[in-house]
Structures are given as C-alpha cells and as structure tokens.
Symmetry: C2
Subunit: 544 residues, 2 copies
C-alpha cells in the first residue's frame, strides 16, 4: 500500500539532521525556521488544447496505427491519435470494450474461462458494482481531464467511513467494532506515547517553555488526551454510550493498547485513507465507471473491432503486420505503428519477432491477481447502522466490504462483498465454483453484519481477474508491484516505454501505478509523444 522513502536526494530534513544536536523534532526547530524552506507541491493544471498537434496531411494520407486491446490504455491512444490525424484500428479480443474498466449490472456477461456467469441483479441504474477501477482520486489529473472533457457526471466516492466496522481477531475478541472507536483509541495511545517523548529528559535545553507548552497542547489535541494526566482515557471521537442530544452523556471508555498493537486494521487499514491516492476526496462516475469507456467509444471515428484475437505480430522496418483470428479466420492488419496493451502474461504466448532484449523486457511484466465479489442485497441494512458508503475491514482474506456511495435509502443496494489482494487467496478463490465463492464471501460478511448479511443476499457475482478471458490478470506490473521506489523497475520501464522499432507497449502494466486507469493514461501519453514526434519528423524530412 505505501512504501518507504529511499534515495530521493538530499532532503531538507537531512540537512537539518546534520545541523541538529540532540536529535528529535525539538532540537531542530530553530534551524528549521531559520532555513525557511518549504516544499513546492507539483500543481495540477487543466490542459490547454489536445495532447498531440495535428499532423499536416498531404494528399489525404494518414499514418496508420494498430491498437491492440480496447481498455483505457488503447481507447485513449486511439482517441488522441485520431484527433491528430492518424488512421487507427483497435483490435479487441473480447466481445466487449473496456478491459478491466468493467461495470457489472443486470445482464452483464462475466466471461470467465470455464465459468461463464450472467449477472442477475435487478434492472436498476443504482444496482451495479465496478469490478475493476471503482474510484477516481482527484489527483489523477489525466483521467479527471477526460471526465471533464467528456462531461461524465461525477459524484463523491466515500472511501473512508468512521462508522463502518472492523472485524479483527485482535480487537474485541473478534467481535465487530466501529472504526471510530479504534481510530480514536489508536490516535490516543500514539499521543500518549508522544507526550512521554515530549517530556523526555534528554531534550535540548534550548527549548523554551513556550515551545514545550505548544508542543504539549498539540500532542494533547491530536490524541484528545486528558489535559492533566496527558493520558488517553477515551474520547468523544469514538462516539457515546448515550444519545448525547439532551441528557448527561457517557463517553465510551478507552480500549486496549495491546489489542490495537496486534490489529491488522490499526497497522494497515486505518492508515489506508492517508495514502497519496486514497485520501479524500475521491470520485466515481455516476451510473458506473464504464461511462468513461462509452464516452471514448462514442468519440472514435472507427469503431473497435471486437472478438479479434491477436495471434502474431510481425515488426518490420517500415510497418507492422498483426495477424488475428476472428470468426475462425485468420485476418491481417498492416499498420505504420503498433501500440499494444495485451497483458504481459498473454503476450508471452503470442508469436512475434521482437528483439531478444525487448522480449526479455516484456517478460519482466509480472502478472497481478485481484478479485471482487458483488452481492445484491434486498435491503440496505448497513444504512440502518449509520453506514453510508465506505469500507468495513475484516482480517479474513475477503478483506473488505464496500458499501455503495450512491442510491442511499433506496430499497436495495449492491455491496462489494470481497476485494481480495493476496495472490494465494486469489489463486484459491479461482479454483472454487461460483457458488462456493459466494459462500466464502457470505461467511465474512455475516461476521460484519450478523443476522443481516446472508438473510438479505439475493444474488451475487464473482470476478476473478486472473481467470477472466483475454485478460488473465489484474494489477500486473514491473518489479515489486506498487513499490514506487523500485529503481530497477524504473530502468526496465524506461526501456520498455521506448518501444521496439514500430511496436510499443501500452497499459497500466508498464506504469508505476498498476491497477489504476491513470497509470494506463500516463503510458498512452508518453508513447504517443514518442510516436508522434517520430512521425512528425519523418513527414518533415519526406517533405523537404
């Protein structure tokens, strides 16, 4: 989820550290203020005009591009290239466009190998779940800019909810506990330790009483400590044992620090919404994430070719030939360039004539696995418990239960009953029948909502990405997936992005941000700049 800061150059803090005496925050205050340095955030901005300057056309000739794969990477590439004057053909292996941008609703076919499902949710615009990307961080500017341009209606996605539940065997003997209780306690105990740190006798003597007083107040407020004892004795933040509106109140007593220490939730899930791309606010597209797919498709001049399975890529000096199977026939597409978002694990089985070096680089894309299970519930029982959107966390392999951020107080709702990260658990889930998978998730859900979850489940669907036809994975990437500090992976990525002759890889799999649409869009942007620069230069030299 989050990774350590390593090798990011000479930091202000390191400078201060050299100047510090006794160590610790207080000792360096004075020099810190004297330096007066301040981080300059990378500012998002709204783009002006299109990504590529349109090509000049002579006699109507348009350079041709074969785009392999109709996910967000391929769609964005095709859209921008068409806008700049290229002739683009998308070949998509599946019956549907969108790749892992996949909204499951009434009638959706889940094309899993040997386990085809059809979604039986009621036909209702609010009854869906996004089996792939489901939330848009505000800082994902490329995606946000497309949403703005395409006038896709966005609504807030609730990622963190203090009223949602924790089920963790370390806490409260595994009984469900409100996140607000655990969060208030964890902050309280941390602050209590920090208060001890403040009063550490080894502190630099230069610290003034006024500084100490401010620091103490800061620590006290941070954890809502008892101001006299500087001990954590429970907090209103955890809520009350009483109603609190009219009569004298009772605050919940503090929980146990020992329990918290042993809790997965406290170590991971509680910190999750502090992360770079998980902090509020996040958004979703109203009616389903595939509104973005629809918007791209609606703007393409040439519709994508579906059920077109690539079997061979021949990369030549002046063109690329793609052989693909459609309607049991082998067909051929010849193009000036080939941009390829076929998953690395599938490319390994496709014939090609890439250079040995490039072939080796391709092999560095490691397959990721992720699964989601969606349940249609006959009643939004979680809202009776004060839960509107957000995520309950369990220490079981099903990990999370997501409540819909939309459609509050409507009769029914679709919850995400499992979001599975562990490769072993995903592999195990993949071996289960559809029915067994639902049962597996129901057991976890019942621990979070005893007496409610199973009773209100009407129908369910499982999407196990590593078994989905034409994809066979999700969140694939280079090196230690998600480790943005993996320098080796950065080098491999840079080489892959450079392409092999007229062939370039697309998709989030080549980015540092696998499993997110923004990663795919960043790759599209980089690859298109390379291709367009080359093509523009070629035309210029041909014209002179």
């Amino acid at each position: 989820m989050e990774h350590r800061v390593e090798g990011y150059g000479f930091s202000r803090r390191q400078l201060l550290s050299l100047m510090g005496k006794a160590g610790g925050s207080i000792a360096v205050w004075h020099s810190a203020q004297a330096l007066g340095l301040m981080s300059t955030p990378a500012e998002p901005s709204r783009p002006q005009g299109r990504m590529l300057t349109p090509l000049m056309h002579k006699n109507g000739t348009r350079p041709s591009v074969a785009v392999l794969g109709g996910g967000i990477g391929g769609l964005s590439a095709a859209f921008e290239l068409e806008q700049a004057g290229y002739d683009v053909t998308i070949l998509e292996a599946s019956h549907r466009i969108g790749g892992r941008n996949f909204t499951v609703r009434a009638g959706t076919v889940i094309d899993e190998l040997g386990n085809r499902q059809v979604c039986n949710f009621d036909n209702d615009p609010d009854l869906y779940f996004n089996a792939g990307p489901a939330r848009i961080p505000a800082m994902h500017l490329r995606l946000m800019n497309y949403c703005r341009e395409f006038a896709i209606e966005l609504e807030p996605f609730i990622n963190s909810n203090y009223n949602a539940w924790v089920v963790d065997k370390a806490i409260n003997e595994g009984q469900r506990t409100r996140q607000r209780d655990v969060i208030a306690d964890a902050r309280g105990f941390i602050a209590e330790l920090a208060a001890k740190g403040v009063s550490d006798t080894s502190l630099d003597a230069k610290v003034t009483d006024a500084d100490l007083e401010k620091l103490t107040a800061y620590v006290r407020d941070f954890g809502d400590l008892n101001p006299e004892s500087m001990r954590y004795e429970g907090s209103l933040r955890a809520g009350l044992l009483t109603d609190g509106m009219l009569d004298p109140i009772k605050v919940k007593p503090a929980g146990s620090a020992k329990e918290l220490m042993n809790s997965q939730f406290v170590r991971n899930a509680m910190l999750f919404a502090e992360n770079e791309y998980q902090a509020p606010s996040m958004m979703q597209s109203r009616g389903g994430m595939d509104r973005i797919v629809d918007a791209f498709v609606a703007r393409l001049r040439k519709p994508p070719v579906t059920r077109a399975r690539v079997v061979e890529i021949v990369n030549r000096e002046n063109s690329v030939t793609v052989h693909y199977e459609q309607d049991d026939k082998i067909r051929t597409l010849r193009a000036d360039y080939c941009l390829n978002s076929i998953p690395g694990q599938i490319m390994a089985g496709i014939k090609h004539n890439f250079s040995p070096r490039y072939t080796q680089l391709l092999g560095e894309i490691k397959r990721g696995m992720l699964s989601k299970i969606g349940f249609q519930m006959s009643r939004r029982f979680w809202e009776d418990e004060g839960i509107y959107g957000g995520i309950s966390w369990t220490d079981r392999s099903t990990l999370q239960i997501w409540y819909p951020s939309h459609g509050s107080h409507r009769p029914k709702g679709v919850v995400l009953g499992a979001y599975i990260f562990s490769p072993d658990d995903n592999a195990a889930l993949g071996r289960l029948s559809h029915k067994e998978r639902l049962e597996y998730a129901l057991v976890s859900g019942e621990a979070v909502h005893p007496g409610q979850y199973r009773a209100h489940m009407e129908t369910g669907v499982s999407v196990v990405w590593h078994r989905m036809n034409h994809l066979l994975g999700c969140g694939s990437g280079i090196g230690h997936i998600g480790d943005v500090f993996d320098v080796e992976a950065d080098k491999i990525r840079a080489q892959l992005l450079g392409g092999d002759g007229r062939h370039f890889m697309l998709g989030d799999q080549v980015s540092k941000h696998p499993g997110w649409q923004e990663g795919a869009l960043a790759v599209t942007e980089r690859v298109l700049q390379t291709v367009h620069q080359r093509e523009s230069a070629r035309r210029l030299s041909a014209a002179s």
Copy 2:
C-alpha cells in the same frame, strides 16, 4: 469543537490505572487484556412505526396544539402530532417556512433587517448553498430516518479534503499549502515523538521484545517514519514533487515541526473531521437542504400560517391562548397545548404569563451568531487544482471556504466563501453593507486562490443570522454552547424540557447540540412524549 472528558464515571482506563505500575500504555497492557472488557457502542437502529401511538378519538374530538415557529423543530412536532390525531396549527412569523434550514438559490429573498437581498445566482439546480445546516452526519439518526421515510435523495457531502488548502501565517510564510502536506508532517512529527516515548528507559521491564517490536512498527507506520532512524523525513502521503506515474519519483521533504506547532490548522482544523459528528461519512440532500422542509410541509394536513408574528402567550390551566399579528391585525389562537420554537432572544421581548422560575430558565438560552457568504463562480477553478468538495481553511475570520460536493465539472459553481464562528467577527460583519461583506470574503478567498477567486466571482449573498428577521441568531443554546460536559446546562435543560403548564419550548436551542437539525428533532421527540403521555392519561381518566 471538541471538549474534554470530565466526570463520566468510573472508566475502564481508570481501573487499569489503579492496577498499573510504572504508568503509560505499555505497563497496563497485561491487565487490560486480562480484563477483556470492551466498549459497547450505542447502536443506531431503524424505528418501527410512528413516534406516538395514535390517540383514541371520541366523537371526533382532537386535542389542539399551537406550534410557534416553522423550522425543523416545529415542523417535526406538527407532523408527528397530526399523525397521532392532534389538530395542529403552525404560526410562522416569516414569509417562508424552514427557519434556518434555508437554501439560497436564484430568486431567494434574504430577509435581513434593513438589508434585504435577493439572490442573483443563475437559475440552475446545482447553483445553491445551504445558509443554515448543510451536512448530515450519518449518526444523526432522527434526521436520517425522516430522510428515509420521505424518500429524500441523499448524496455524499465531502467534509474533509486533503487536496484543499491551508492559509495560515505560521505555515510556509502564509502562502497556501496543501492540507495533505501539513497532515502528513503533523502525523510524522507526532509519531517521531511517540517513538521517543517508546524507547523511554523508564518502561516497565515486563514488556517483551515482541511487544516493543509491534509498538515500534505501529508508531512507524502511523507517521510513515524512516524505519531505521525512526525519524520523519517526508512521506508519499504528502504527494510528490514529480508525476509519479512513469519516471523515478521525488518525495516532498518534510516541513517544519516548529511551523506546525504554531499553526491554527494543525491544532484545530486538522482534527476537525475526527470529531464525533464531523467524521466521514456525511451526507447532503440533493438539490438543497430545504428538500427536508418541503417534505414535511407536503405531509402536513393543515398548511402553516405564515407572516404570523406572536405578540403574547397566555398560559392557562386548561388552555393556551396565543395572540399574533397578521396583516396588521391582532388575531388569536386558542389551543390545548403550545409548543414554542421562537428563539430565546425573541421570546425575551414577547409578552407572556410564565412562572418566574420558567421565565428565568428561558433567559438561560444564550444567543449564538453565525454567518455564511456564498459566491457564484463563473468557473470551477478549484477543480483544476484537484479539489472536489471539502473545505479550505484560513486563519482569517472568514475561516473556511467550502467547495460544492455536487455538480463537479459543470461550468459554474457556488462556493461558501465564509463561515464565521467568532462572535466579534460576526458582530463586525453584521455592521457592514452587503457589498462590504462580499469584499471582506473576497480578500480571504484571493489568498487561497490567487488570481482566480476574484476574477471568477459573479455574484454573492451574505446571510448574517443574528440580523435575519424573526430569528436574530443561530446556534443559540444553554450554558457553554457546544460543551456537552456542562452539567449545570444539563440541569437547566432538563427543567426547560419539562415545560411550564401547557407550554413547552422546542428547537435545537434547548438541546445539547445547537445549530444542528438533530438537536431540534431530539427536543421534539422528548416534548412530544411528555405532551402525549399527559394527554393520553387525561383522556383515559376522562373516559373512566
């Protein structure tokens, strides 16, 4: 905003404290675990049936109730009483129903004494702001239950946004800073101090190495510390100096602990969304908070009487007579009961014959002041900066800028340009002309969005509640307003809630939760139970 825990009885922690040896979190772990106690949260639940059991009617007689004031307190009382068989008349002094549940949109009249405004926003369903209550905490169950019953469409309200700005003279020389920077740094420095606390040599010798290791890991992850040095050296949570999608990244260096210590934001605003009723998730009613008012009014059998200004209340043994002015005539309403939500500060000027004790209690309601300023912006420039909903905080008296949680990426938007809490600042604002008030808020906004804020402002409206006709205040309450531990206030409240003969006060002003609709609903519920019990008993004894 938040208040200290005092005198809430014998806590688990206190018990542990008696059993502890060296003090501090670690020393009490063992006994804490042995006790195995766990807080039992007060569980919200969905109500079954109506609040009051309907009265049995003999010969069609219905007891009559005069409800003074058509805010949420009066409306909810009238609705529930009608459902139970009472004959209810609402007298409302203003031309409009709803009280401080007041949504300002195109054409809305702001009936301020001597400063009448008409809102010039474009006529567009997304262009509004809620001048009174604007967000619904999920734990406000009474209000949520009405929203469910009335099928009011709810949507998420974004209360906390890590991308929004801080303008605080203590930080970054008063230049705007992303909240994510400040929050990551503050947590980091707290954790660094806590790490010092962990390694305190005075720790209980019984703590095992395994415990220490877990505690250290917990503190490290909490603040995203460097795992070797256990120092805070900046965090990905603050975002990056680079794009982060493809190329090697640069993390922002850590800020200054000294600056944070002196920051209002860190001491208050940063902690604000941890509070009981401010933590995620929160909701808003789609299209404006006054959808709730409309829903109550639509369900009333007898429409409220507007422009009816109460001038005298005569409380007798068998009835209450209310004299009111309407169309320059004094009219009279006689009823079996009078439920009164007229603000305490206005009641002070209305003739009545209450008991001296009750009159004194009424005087304990202290007037609150709050103001909001709304601006229609020609462009949603904040979304170009990655801000979708949420609040930017300034250290100026205008305090906050709220961005709309709805209508993202539409051409225009309405921001709340000021939400003023300080009584002095509110008093000062009230003395300014409409134009001067807007200028006052524009200066603050320009500090948060230089070059954008003023340039895109099309029109604005100020709502200064202590100058609004028939209200003259907002967030009024008993004792130290908002201090839920004020035991003296609890006593006064209990007496006021008991009523004086056939007269009872209504509204959030009598609750522990002033300024929130839930406070008003809790008072309605309590008063109605008292009245209904009395009336039911009377009818039973009359029948026997």
